[in-house]
Amino acid sequence: MAATESYPDDLKYHREHDWARIEGDEAVLGITWFAQDALGELVHYEAPEQGANVTKDAPYGEVESVKAVSDVIAPLSGEVIEVNAKVVDAPETVNEDPYGEGWLIRIRLSDSSERDALLDVDAYKQVVAES
């Protein structure tokens, strides 16, 4: 079952429709409800390697539906310390629970000041409204 539209207010957002849940010097990253809805049911998640470095505003992986493929943009820089194996095996988890079970990677942040450039929920909702 696809999730209903929501944008949790405890997350930080990137205008390319990615979210970050910052937990101390780590962050969990994923794509927003809007992104998964635009793609449709996901059938493939091309994940980065554990230990790889991701760079803010640059792609770190790909998600694909039957019809389309999309880069996943990192909202923050850091080292990949965990990849969500559940999404690798069952990419539709992202459609079902984009902010929970459908997270994509966990990183160790390399630059704690970057978070200031991210959008809060209201600013991101504005991006969605204009999309």
Binding site: A2, V43, H44, E62, V66, K67
Partner: protein, 352 residues
């Protein structure tokens, strides 16, 4: 220049059902309603209905209608009788494929051609240019809507009698007169129903009330790829020939038609490349245009909902084309392994 998209008579119904509408071949068409994968499974397990009213319909009539079609189409119309249909190719002088289509023999000297939406205008011009005195070609597309009702329970849900594939008959569904063709593009049992445009809405509503699931072009593509039916514009084009595409079976080289001699020559020397179906052995979704190592290219690719793997069609050198051959696809810079398989990629197990 931007061009207004055409709409089928069912446009408002698609929107009301929450379909995602996309431009396709100059038309605004539903790509999905609930979701491609659920729609795909509905067709494999029960029945789905597709609005394919964007496809073109031509009538060819007159004492020399057969002669015109025999000279322009690859298959042999002498092999079918009134009430039967035939898959065939419209070919150019080089043996290239201008379109693939189904011809329906309505009467001894009257035929219906159902052609791809994207080729409607060039096909019509081509046939008009080849018209003979005594053969009249008319584009009647705007008079009709076309619904494809497909799936193992499609015929039962429409309460239609059993009939052989590639036959057709006048009939009615829920009191609506229509032409019921036992043809399709999914690899399943079912029919394609030609109906007057004004009756299309009532027919669509009746079909849905019978429990048939509305399906979009997204599922139509995944279904046809599992069945290994080529898509004109992707897998077959004016620059590819029937021998390379594995469509020699619908080219009757003992008769004369446009490009027949070129096809005989290609057949005699053997095509350099062949269109093959393949299944990915590593996680990846092949896409149109991806290179295949050793000098080939993916022409159609998707994720198979039934196999839960990447599948596709692509041209490879003839030496690499035999079933079970390994191939490596360049997926945006990443080499991913697949294997050539036999057609179809997926076929439902018939119940014993």
């Amino acid at each position: 220049m931007a061009r207004t998209l055409q709409r089928t008579p069912l446009h408002d119904r698609h929107v009301a059902l929450g379909a995602r509408m996309v431009p396709f071949a100059g038309w605004e068409m539903p790509v999905q309603y609930a979701g491609v994968i659920d729609e795909h499974r509905a067709v494999r397990g029960d029945a789905g209905v597709f609005d394919v009213s964007h496809m073109g319909e031509f009538e060819v009539e007159g004492p020399r209608a057969t002669e015109l079609l025999q000279a322009t189409l690859s298959n042999d119309l002498d092999r079918i009788e009134t009430g039967q249909a035939q898959y065939t190719l419209l070919t150019n002088e080089r043996g290239g494929i201008l379109d693939d289509l189904i011809v329906y023999k309505l009467e001894p000297a009257r035929y219906l051609l159902i052609v791809n939406a994207s080729n409607r205008e060039p096909d019509f011009r081509w046939l008009k240019d080849h018209e003979l005195r005594g053969s009249d070609v008319r584009d009647v597309s705007d008079e009709y809507a076309l619904l494809a009702v497909q799936g193992p329970r499609a015929i039962e849900r429409l309460c239609l009698p059993e009939a052989r594939a590639f036959t057709f008959a006048e009939g009615e569904i829920d009191g609506i007169p229509c032409m019921i063709n036992r043809t399709g593009y999914t690899g399943e049992d079912g029919c394609e129903v030609l109906v007057m445009a004004d009756d299309a809405g009532a027919l669509w509503d009746g079909v849905l009330e019978r429990g048939v699931v509305p399906c979009g072009l997204g599922a139509r593509d995944t279904l046809r790829l599992e069945a290994c039916f080529p898509l004109h514009g992707n897998d077959i084009t004016p620059d590819t020939d029937a021998m390379s595409a594995g469509l020699g079976w619908c080219c009757r080289l003992e008769k004369e038609f446009t490009g027949a001699q070129e096809l005989r020559e290609i057949k005699a020397r053997g095509p350099e490349q062949k269109l093959v179906p393949f299944v990915m052995e590593e996680k990846a979704v092949p896409r149109q245009g991806m290179p295949i190592e050793g000098g080939g290219e993916v022409t159609s690719g998707t994720h198979s909902p039934m196999l839960d793997r990447g599948i596709g069609l692509g041209y490879v050198p003839t030496a690499d084309a035999s079933p079970d051959s390994e191939l490596t696809i360049d997926v945006r810079g990443r080499p991913r392994r697949g294997r050539v398989v036999t057609k179809p990629i997926y076929k439902r197990e018939e119940n014993a």
